[in-house]
Amino acid sequence: MFENLSERLERSFKILKGQGTITEINVAETLKDVRKALLDADVNYKVAKTFTDDVKAKALGMNVLNAIKPNELMVKIVHDELARLMGGTHEDINLKGSPAVILMSGLQGSGKTTFSGKLANMLKHKRGKNPLLVACDVYRPAAIDQLKVVGEQINVPVYSEPDSKNPIKIAENAIKQAKRNGHDLVIIDTAGRLAIDEQMMAEIAAIKDAVKPQEILFVVDAMTGQDAVNTAKEFNERLNFDGVVLTKLDGDTRGGAALSIRTVVDKPIKFIGTGEKMEAIDLFHPERMADRILGMGDIVSLVERAQEQYDEEEARKISKKIAKNQFDFNDFMSQIQQIKKMGNIKDLASMIPGVGKMMKNVDLDDNSFVGVESIIQSMTPAERANPQLINGSRKNRIAKGCGRSVPEINRLLKQFSDMQKMMRAMQNQSNPLRMMRKKQSRR
């Protein structure tokens, strides 16, 4: 729906062409685009404004390097600043205390109950904890049942008092129960509440006072809009929470709320929720979040990696061979090696904006090349240089050598000859990798 930032910047940076540094004048239009991208991502209006002012200060006077396009440099500045603001050193969850008590807080429907289950499950398996879940939502119909079902799924006991309407007492009793039964971790799930609901906010503050939790987590839906700042501020003023949990990041939201909240309350984002399954919990990665807010794959590092790994000399050689119709299996092999050097194929693909989402469910990994490589390696040098040599008996020998079937070898030969044809057709346009790179830098 939204254009990503690099696409936008390409337009506004036309102004920059031919100028060596970023100046007040040529940066104005660009910053407008940066701001629009942030607002489209639901970053708070004021936060977006402050952010662009900071970026401007950073960008002014910067040399536009020859190696990289000015718009890419600008994207990098914006990206790095975003990641810096949202990141900092990772703060671990505080599990000291016997039992350690974690209190969950947040609005209705933000995903507190599901996340309580995920956290219990993770700390049980990864930290060897013996958690007790506590159902303190006495208001929403079936909220207690929901936590019980979650508890069963992960095999963690749930403390509840179905007839009590006093969450403070329930929380206190739960801690006694935890001590009796030797639980070293208590996770208290609470009712969703609006920040302006005085009575409910007083209630959660009272739970905090009663149980003195080691860790208070504020759970927020990543799709939240401009109001995220108000809510986070109110909750923080009342509870002085220790960390933020961003949920529903498996959706396609840009998640600008992450930046807004971080800016307004200056508390670390500790976890993210990425699905409905109990395992769908992850630590927060500021870099990835920055990409996401800007609506782009990590094109910066893709370009960097391509430049690092790409051997100009080799490329020229291959391109000459294609022109002369001499592209053989040796060249093919060296192309594969070059691509592999750049990293995991799926990672690479996911760095290309727009492709990442498409590739999510495609089963593709480095092994994609293993079969092809082993077949080529089982060929004699003569066969590699001259694929026409490969007849029936040679195919049988290659098949035995690489442990692949003859039909697989036939398929590769067919693909290779198609590729040769294709290359011949584009022989005036240099080699495919270079074409890709050109496309890349045109963006």
Binding site: D40, G109, T113, K148, V149, G225, K248, D250
Partner: protein
């Protein structure tokens, strides 16, 4: 304000309370920019931009509204700040799609067919089940017999939550066990409702993020299966949007519209500080009317949406 007569007094009060924060911010800010001036200048428009964006109206819709106001200012040569209010309301109002007469939102209105089947859809945690409970209450209160179908068989205790609402409101809930085929639950519900001559059937569905293709396809299946019992079903597909959601609500509307022909919107959680401004752009782009707004967790906290009232409460 003559428009007040659109609402009964108690309703108006709840909405005003719910949107209280909005009122302060929107016109407070605008008034400050406008004070001592007799015409609309850039500062006023900048203020307006801030007001609309911070209400989640979104950049594109905001720019459109401002552009249209600028055009009016240019055309009418001189627009005093008194008139700005009126112009703004008119422009915003024109974005909100009008209610479709065949599918009245008024609970007491005669329904075009019986049973009148409403399928409720939306992403996780927007308040689908709560909205259904409140809807059931309103329909029952206006003398209609209601059946609820617990087709959210996925989320933990979703069935129990709907059953609790059924008990509270006093309407039957058709259910199967957790993990059952939702289409089969919908089929059962419609069959029971038809046999018992129910007026309204409301089908709850599991929350699903709109980018999960398989889950979205499931909605189509539920719809198809329901048609075997009631050929016109669903008469209404109600997409529930969380009022605090930002621009992603657009994408939700887009994907759900694609999968199920959404015919109406409900905006929930407007009793908080969120303004739900994203609905302006959604209603305009997809030509779907907003029918209900949720203003709390109580059984009465659902209102029939009134465009003019919404805008008045948003901008006054």
């Amino acid at each position: 304000m003559g428009i007040l007569s659109f609402f009964q007094k108690d309703k108006k009060e709840t909405l005003d309370q719910g949107l209280a924060k909005t009122k302060e911010s929107v016109f407070g800010k605008l008034a400050r920019a406008v004070v001592g001036k007799s015409k609309v200048d850039d500062e006023v428009l900048d203020r307006l931009e801030e007001v609309l964006i911070t209400s989640d109206v979104g950049v594109e819709t905001t720019l459109r509204i401002i552009e249209r106001i600028e055009q009016r200012v240019a055309r009418d040569k001189y627009v005093g700040t008194d008139e700005l209010n009126k112009v703004l309301k008119e422009e915003v109002l024109s974005l909100l799609t009008e209610d479709n007469a065949e599918n009245p939102s008024d609970y007491s209105a005669e329904l075009p067919s019986s049973p009148y089947v409403i399928m409720v859809v939306g992403v996780n945690g927007v308040g689908k089940t709560t909205t259904i409970g409140k809807l059931a209450y309103q329909f029952k209160k206006s003398g209609k017999s209601v059946y609820l179908g617990a087709a959210d068989t996925f989320r933990a205790a979703a069935v129990e939550q709907l059953v609790a609402w059924g008990e509270r409101v006093g309407v039957p809930v058709i259910k199967q066990k957790m993990g059952a085929d939702p289409a089969s639950v919908a089929f059962d519900t419609l069959t029971s409702a038809k046999t018992n001559n129910a007026d309204v059937v409301i089908i709850d569905t599991a929350g699903r993020l709109h980018n999960k293709v398989n889950l979205m396809n499931e909605l189509t299946k539920i719809k198809n299966v329901m048609r075997k019992v009631v050929p016109t079903a669903p008469n209404e597909v109600l997409l529930v949007l969380d009022g605090s959601t930002g621009q992603n609500a657009f994408e939700q509307a887009k994907q759900f519209t694609k999968a199920t022909d959404v015919s109406a919107l409900a905006i929930t959680k407007l009793d908080g500080t969120a303004k739900g401004g994203v609905v302006l752009g959604i209603s305009d782009q997809f030509k779907i009317p907003v029918k209900y707004i949720g203003l709390g967790e109580g059984v009465e906290d659902l209102q029939v949406f009134d465009r003019k009232e919404f805008i008045n409460s948003l901008l006054d």
